[in-house]
């Protein structure tokens, strides 16, 4: 593994987790962010469950995209030639990607739920209840789409490591955002919030302030590059 690829991995992680936080910058995963952020422990459980599923989904979707869905992927190209198609045609199945991704997400959530329930009842107790909700969590589909975008561009063909890092970073960012939000909301319970703002209103305003805080990290990814280069030389 070269230095550049390590730098890229760190950049992807930090960018997904903090600078372009999935929740506060891309607005994906807002529903659980507003709905399951009343208490810190449930929020953290939800964050862990999402991180877990995102990582699995990013592994699966990278594999499927790389070998089957991206333009010029090996498997359909091979089938095309076996079927007697012309060599010059680039087979592109990316039109199917949305359906494949949503199927992969739904299936992996189902399997993760079954696995966790069977082999780790304790873990199931802590975040199993959130698992069915996660199918409709935009953050996971968003990760898959981001991986598709990187694989459609032949200049930046991502490997499995980059895809997994994006998943982990996004999950970490989601966990961070929802846990911080739950901490603030626990405090807000005791404060005298103007009546119409109670509930979703004040939560959204707090989220706005958190999003401003995230904007403050813009440019950190550039300095990571110089830092890593400095450390490795």
């Amino acid at each position: 593994m070269t230095m550049d690829s390590i730098t890229l991995l760190i950049q992807i992680f930090v960018s997904a987790a903090i600078i372009n936080n999935f929740v506060l910058h891309y607005f994906v995963g807002i529903c659980p962010f507003l709905g399951v952020s009343r208490r810190v422990d449930t929020a953290f459980g939800m964050g862990c469950a999402v991180t877990f599923v995102i990582s699995i989904a990013s592994l699966l979707s990278w594999t499927l995209t790389y070998y089957i869905l991206r333009p010029g992927a090996p498997l359909p190209a091979w089938l095309w030639r076996v079927a007697g198609g012309a060599e010059s045609v680039t087979v592109d199945l990316s039109v199917l990607s949305y359906i494949v991704y949503i199927f992969v997400i739904a299936a992996s959530v189902q399997f993760v739920e079954m696995y966790v329930r069977r082999f780790s009842p304790k873990l199931y107790k802590s975040f199993g209840v959130f698992l069915p909700l996660i199918t409709t969590n935009c953050a996971i589909l968003f990760t898959c789409l981001e991986i598709l975008k990187q694989l459609q561009d032949p200049m930046r063909l991502w490997g499995l490591a980059e895809a997994l890092t994006l998943g982990l970073g996004g999950g970490a960012g989601f966990t961070l955002a929802i846990t911080v939000m739950a901490g603030i909301r626990e405090e807000l319970e005791l404060r005298d919030v103007p009546r119409p703002l109670r509930g979703a209103g004040i939560t959204l305003i707090v989220a706005g302030i958190l999003a401003m805080a995230c904007m403050g990290f813009a440019g950190v990814d550039k300095s990571i590059e110089t830092t890593v280069q400095y450390l490795l030389h």
């Binding site: 506060l24 910058h25 891309y26 607005f27 994906v28 995963g29 807002i30 529903c31 507003l34 039109v95 199917l96 949305y98 359906i99 949503i102 199927f103 739904a106 069915p132 199918t135 409709t136 969590n137 935009c138 589909l141 968003f142 789409l145 981001e146 975008k149 103007p194 009546r195 119409p196 703002l197 979703a200 209103g201 004040i202 939560t203 959204l204 305003i205 989220a207 706005g208 302030i209 999003a211 401003m212 995230c214 904007m215």
Partner: protein, 212 residues
């Protein structure tokens, strides 16, 4: 049918204001916040969502007798994914620059909780006409919600509406309104305003009833 739910007309009206998806149910928050920096992308998003919502409602209503309880969510999402793919290809073919602006948020319509919740709550249990009315009403309500947020953000953020300058040139553009924090702040304040108006009205109504 012995079970008398709301009629088609009532469902249509319900979607627009009493159960507005954005302000009352807080559903489908990703596009609500992400594409409302200006009116044009917001309305394109509403059109794409409405297409997927109405089509998915119709299909689920047609196949409602075949649905197996444990597989229904999967069937809903796959149906929605098909229609979203159609909408996405259509946008890429005819409105290319707009589809670039909307980016990942078009495919993210698939996991828009609004559509899945309508399939689950209404169309998988109701006949075709009711499902259609419900879909159209909810789409209009969603459009109303997005348009109101986009109006505030575009006016304050760039002094224009639909790209046409409205406010005087001396207006200092509030850049923050176009950035992510602006979306959260505007939606939070609009929600509070609607809640406040509702409260004031409710109090007035109660006062009238007690005095009468």
């Amino acid at each position: 049918m012995t079970l008398t739910g709301p009629t088609a007309g009532e469902r249509f009206i319900n979607g627009i204001l009493p159960e507005n998806p954005v302000y009352r149910q807080l559903l489908g928050m990703c596009p609500t916040l992400a594409v409302t920096g200006a009116m044009k992308p917001a309305l394109t998003m509403v059109a794409a969502t409405a297409f997927a919502l109405v089509s998915a409602n119709l299909i689920t209503s047609l196949i409602r007798h075949l649905l197996k309880p444990h597989l229904r969510i999967l069937v809903f999402t796959l149906t929605i994914a098909t229609f979203v793919t159609i909408a996405d290809r259509f946008l890429a073919a005819y409105l290319y620059s707009m589809s670039k602006v909307l980016g990942p948020y078009v495919p993210l319509i698939i996991v828009n909780c609004l559509i899945i919740s309508r399939c689950e709550v209404c169309s998988s249990k109701q006949s075709l006409g009711i499902a259609l009315a419900d879909g159209v009403g909810m789409s209009l309500g969603f459009g109303l919600g997005l348009a109101s947020i986009a109006t505030v953000r575009e006016l304050l953020g760039s002094g224009s509406w639909f790209g046409i300058p409205v406010l005087p040139a001396a207006w200092p553009d509030w850049g923050i309104m176009l950035l992510p924090p602006g979306a959260f702040l505007v939606l939070g304040l609009l929600l509070a305003t609607i809640e406040w108006v509702g409260r004031v009205r409710g109090a007035k109504k109660r006062a009238r009833e007690t005095s009468a």
